[in-house]
């Protein structure tokens, strides 16, 4: 048996090599660079690597646009138009997500556990926190995941597909469990993600085995050929392709493989949620499109009912369940499920314009997602003042920067408690001057006196805690932080698909593709679902702008004790990322032409 060394076109691989190479270097940095400068080095390395990947993609663009793409590594990687587009989208979104990840905010603490290995609540954890430790391993982990995401949609054989899936998943499982706050929730999410992810991987692997049994090959092209020629083994073929699709649908978070999404999105550190919601979905849909368009198009009459069922169920479940959520991260999680359904309508269309539409939608959705989760990571709870601990580290400075003051809910005395239960004291008296610098439309709110005309409760500032994710805490944010709330509203409008935002263009593109491909019932369901979805997006906007603080949805008595929200100032990284996402969202809505044309120009998959 002879073994020929494949001719490797290194240049074509550059984006992947840069990212994975930087990840390996990042591991070495952990070992060799002193802790003091480690964060700076890691961050620089990560940002440079991702930026370089974008540049490398740009450098490859013209060549691919001319030739239609090449097979690399003997067909294991297909560097064609859609691959390049997906690489560019993934790298750009990862870059933005890393900026959010890197932001330590005015509190001086990032979103990650100081020492991932410490048992939650233990003395060791407290010591690690006090020592200011940081898990800078986060950056190489993100790079490894990104590397996997780059390979995943580009691969041309099933084995590489599986390897890429693991490369992108394993770091994500870890990252999910590294939240600084609510660590048990985070670790539980990580565990669930790992278990269910393994389950899905197993399904995928089983499907690969069956397809290999059917066709005797792992190459997409050869399997597609076998589908056309081989007869009499339909059972293997159908079961195999169904299992492979199931594995991919798990990653995109489509019903019925979606149940992990809300728990994991909620538990993971918010910047990681943004990264994984945006980039994983891009990669997974890229792979799904390639498999669906090049491997099994001849099975469309068999697989279409499945994909239709999945698409409709995904849109319906995502939209309907989002209506009853009270946690902003879970709302966004279900919204991401619904979006997966919308993208699926474009995938199912099985027409050329479907590819363009899906790619564009992923960019539009990704930009809004990274931005939205970036904002969620800045809206924090402020805890009660502990006696003698009023000067909690960093709290005072942060409050000054954020420009918002929140009265303590439960000071030592009982009078404040009484006031709080009267529902009148917990009133944010912010002026919005800090963030808005007078640019905003913050409505002056009267300071509310104590319930029975006594002295107003003493205003004091507790330490800033984790994210204020309960929707009731977002009430009135538009008055205290108009700029932030307006930006968040922009992302929500884009999710809702309101014209002149990127989301509208994306939705229009996928629904048009679905209609063109004859799947007009899907488009109708999509339109209905997006109309219903508008309710929960607008509900949040109403909450932020038209409701006074603590006038929002309440569950029960426990809501009374929920602290108000305060916006912490970013170090600058997150602001840059959120701003870039907002600009993208508007640009892609108002002037999507150039991007759509560029994508449409290369949206041709290699067979």
């Amino acid at each position: 048996m002879s073994f020929t060394v494949p001719d490797i076109a290194w240049a074509q691989l550059a984006p992947v090599l840069i990212v994975l190479g930087a990840a390996v270097v990042g591991v070495l940095v952990e070992a060799l660079v002193p802790r003091r400068v480690r964060r700076v080095v890691q961050l620089t390395l990560t940002l440079v690597a991702l930026a370089a990947a974008v540049v490398a993609v740009a450098a490859l663009w013209n060549g691919v646009a001319d030739t239609g793409g090449t097979e690399v590594l003997g067909g294991s990687l297909l560097v064609d138009g859609p691959t390049l587009v997906l690489w560019a989208i993934t790298a750009v979104l990862a870059l933005l997500a890393v900026l959010v990840i890197a932001d330590r905010t005015a509190t001086g603490e990032d979103a990650f556990a100081p020492q991932g290995a410490a048992v939650p609540g233990s003395g060791y954890e407290e010591a690690a926190r006090a020592a200011g430790l940081e898990q800078t391993e986060v950056y190489p982990l993100v790079l490894f995941a990104t590397g996997g995401m780059l390979i995943f949609p580009a691969t041309g054989d099933l084995l590489t597909l599986f390897v890429a899936l693991e490369v992108l998943s394993l770091p994500l499982y870890l990252l999910t469990g590294l939240s600084r706050r609510r660590r048990l929730l985070s670790q539980e999410a990580s565990m669930k993600y790992f278990l269910l992810g393994s389950f899905a991987s197993a399904l995928l692997l089983f499907g690969i085995a069956l397809l290999y049994g059917f066709s005797g090959s792992l190459r997409y092209a050869e399997i597609a050929e076998a589908v056309r020629t081989v007869t009499g083994m339909d059972g293997l073929l159908l079961a195999g392709s169904l299992l492979v699709l199931a594995g991919l649908l798990f990653k995109v978070g489509a019903v019925p493989f979606h149940s992990w999404t809300p728990d994991v999105y909620q538990g993971a550190p918010t910047p990681i949620t943004g990264f994984m919601a945006a980039c994983t979905k891009v990669a997974a849909f890229g792979a799904l499109v390639r498999v669906f368009y090049t491997v099994v198009p001849d099975l469309r009459w068999d697989l279409e009912p499945v994909m239709w069922t999945v698409a409709i169920a995904t849109m319906a479940v995502g939209t309907v369940v989002a209506l009853v959520q009270t946690d902003v991260k879970r709302v966004l999680a279900y919204s991401s499920i619904a979006h997966a359904g919308f993208v699926l309508t474009g995938v199912v269309a099985l027409v050329q314009s479907g590819i363009t539409a899906v790619l564009f939608y992923l960019l539009a959705y990704g930009a809004a997602t990274v931005g939205a989760f970036g904002i969620v990571s800045l809206v924090r709870e402020r805890g009660a003042v502990r006696s003698g601990a009023a000067g909690a580290v960093g709290a005072a400075g942060a409050a000054g920067a954020a420009g918002a003051r929140v009265p303590a809910l439960a000071a030592a005395g009982s009078s404040a408690r009484a006031g709080a239960s009267a529902g009148s004291t917990a009133d944010v008296v912010g002026t919005g001057a800090g963030a808005g610098a007078g640019a905003g439309d913050g409505v002056d709110r009267p300071a509310v006196a104590g319930a029975d005309g006594e002295e107003p409760p003493v205003e004091a500032e507790g330490p800033i805690l984790g994210e204020a994710t309960h929707l009731s805490q977002w009430a009135g944010l538009g008055r205290t932080n108009p700029v932030l709330a307006t930006t968040f509203a922009l992302f929500l409008l884009s999710f809702a698909g309101i014209p002149l935002t990127a989301g509208f263009t994306g939705k229009f593109a996928v629904f048009s593709a679905a209609v063109e491909g004859g799947a007009w019932p899907l488009a109708v369901v999509g339109v209905l679902a997006s109309a219903a979805a508008a309710f929960f997006y607008v509900r949040i906007i109403v909450l932020m702008f038209f409701t006074s603080p603590h006038g929002g949805p309440r569950d029960d008595a426990d809501d009374e004790a929920r602290p108000g929200a305060v916006v912490v100032a970013s170090q600058g990284f997150a602001v840059v990322a959120i701003g870039a996402c907002a600009v993208l969202t508007v640009l892609l809505g108002v002037l999507p032409g150039p991007v759509l044309d560029a994508v449409a120009g290369v949206a041709q998959l290699l067979p």
């Binding site: 159908l238 479940v317 309907v320 009853v324 314009s353 439309d441 593709a513 219903a532 569950d555 029960d556």
Partner: protein, 639 residues
Amino acid sequence: MDVNSLAPLLVAVPLASAAVLLLLGRRSDRWGHWLGLLASTAAFVVGALLLVELLGRPADDRSIDVHLFDWISAGRFDLSAGLLVDPLSLTFVLLVTFVGSLIHLYSVAYMAHDAARRRFFAYLNLFIAAMLILVLADSYLLLFVGWEGVGLASYLLIGFWNHHTPYAVAAKKAFVANRIGDLGLLVALMLMFATFGSVDFASVSAGIDGGLASTATLTATGLMLLLAACGKSAQFPLQSWLGDAMAGPTPVSALIHAATMVTAGVYLIVRSAPVFEGAPTAQLVVTIVGAITLVFGAVVGCAKDDIKKALAASTMSQIGYMVLAAGLGPVGYAFAIFHLVTHGFFKAGMFLGAGSVMHGMDDQTDMRRFGGLRRYMVITWVTFGLGWLAILGVPPFSGFWSKDKIIESAFVVPEGAGEWRAWLFGAVALIGAGITAFYMSRLFFMTFHGTKRWTKDADGHEPHPHESPALMTIPMVVLAIGSVGLGFVLQLGGGFTTWLEPVTGHVEHHEPVLPVVVIQVVTLLAVAVGLVLAWRQYASLPVPETAPEGSALTRAARVDLYQDAVNDAVLVEPGRHLTRSLVYGDRTAVDGTFTGLGRLTVGIGELVRRLQTGYARQYAATMLLGLVVLAVVVLAPRI
């Protein structure tokens, strides 16, 4: 002077002004309102220049498509954003910017004591820009952008005083009704895209001429467009939001809920004439919806004691006339638009008058607390009175020329239809005119005539009705002049209908089933009866300060003919019960803002949420079960 460079200014100027006002924030508080007024006036000047340009061209060359930029190209779908300047859109442009500018001027004084006046003007400018996009769009997609834009702006304006909870609720209600309408427009968009491969007016029209669409498709498209129109124009069965929307500041009601936005539905129907021409069934439904709404609004108007809500009911009814006319086909298009223009003037004038009355009466809106105001607010009384005569259709005031034409057209037998139609719709339009005379006279007499029924306010001080400042009365006077003379001027020599002919098409004159003179005389008789009845009951007899119990019909009309109750019973309650039976207890996590279908979906949502238990083993089981179901879906056809 180049149309291509002028037309974009129409949208750009108010939009830029809105952006400046919002971005500069408080720094522009001192002069912001003047900038807003300037922007709106500038847009009017541009519109006037375009009118001159268009009039200088031959009639068949008066449709100019101004290309802006390539907007969306996805696959075979290729759309550029462009503005269509033709007689129809320009008519709207002039109406919106002229009335809009007057209302800006009025608001300068009306909102003088509001700390957020600058923000108010920003929203007004935003609204003007969106409305102009709506009417200038050359494709249904861009029209949809404007459609959503006016929805957003009106949402912001209705809820402007959002510190009052009912106002915010009203804003939400308007939002829900409008979303249902938007849904119709979106589905129509999809249908048109699927059928014609394009959604610009020209291609759709050409596609219909080319026989690309079956009658069934056109009927479906037409009905969806009608649904959209119903949501926006408060037509049956989506009319319930308009009354509540009166919670917004009065100039908003004058601009949005009388002159401009609510008439967008009529515009949509007239603009979609080719679709409706190919779908007689849809056209008939349009007429029926118009007829129902015109009676519905008139009946509700008879029982409302709140001056703004009575005016809102009247608006609903008058738009019913326009929709009815639009449903009659080419015979009615021009008259629908004609009535729309005159109505824009006299109804906006009356809303501003109502605002002036409220201004003088410490924001009182209950007409049973007015009375005898004519001595104290002479200008308001006169201008309002002219508007009142116009809406009654008394010759030679504006309303006579437009409404009478609609009634006459309703009496024309449509081609290929039974004669019963002409009698039915003609009679409805005629009776509607009588009821209109009654409730508008009731409103007028209760407010300005009869005895004083003023009450002290909470602090115990008497109201001191006084005439409003000049900034408020000037717009009222200008609009009153329009109410008097505009109709006559526009109908001179059939001028207005000829002007619109390039869009609405030339129509041969059809004779109504009754001689025109008879129709006119009977109409005037109906009006006179309504007026005299109102005079007897509300001017010569004392008006009780608390509303009498009234007949069953009155009580029903007071609550909008049970519209909310019907909504509740049909949509909300079943949904709520479903929710209750699905989940133990009725602890919904939602803040109760969703009505109707919202409730239903929330109920289902609760059920699904319960499946989200948090146990990984159950999730895995769900996945496996789902996989089995999918496998069955795949394999079932094979077995």
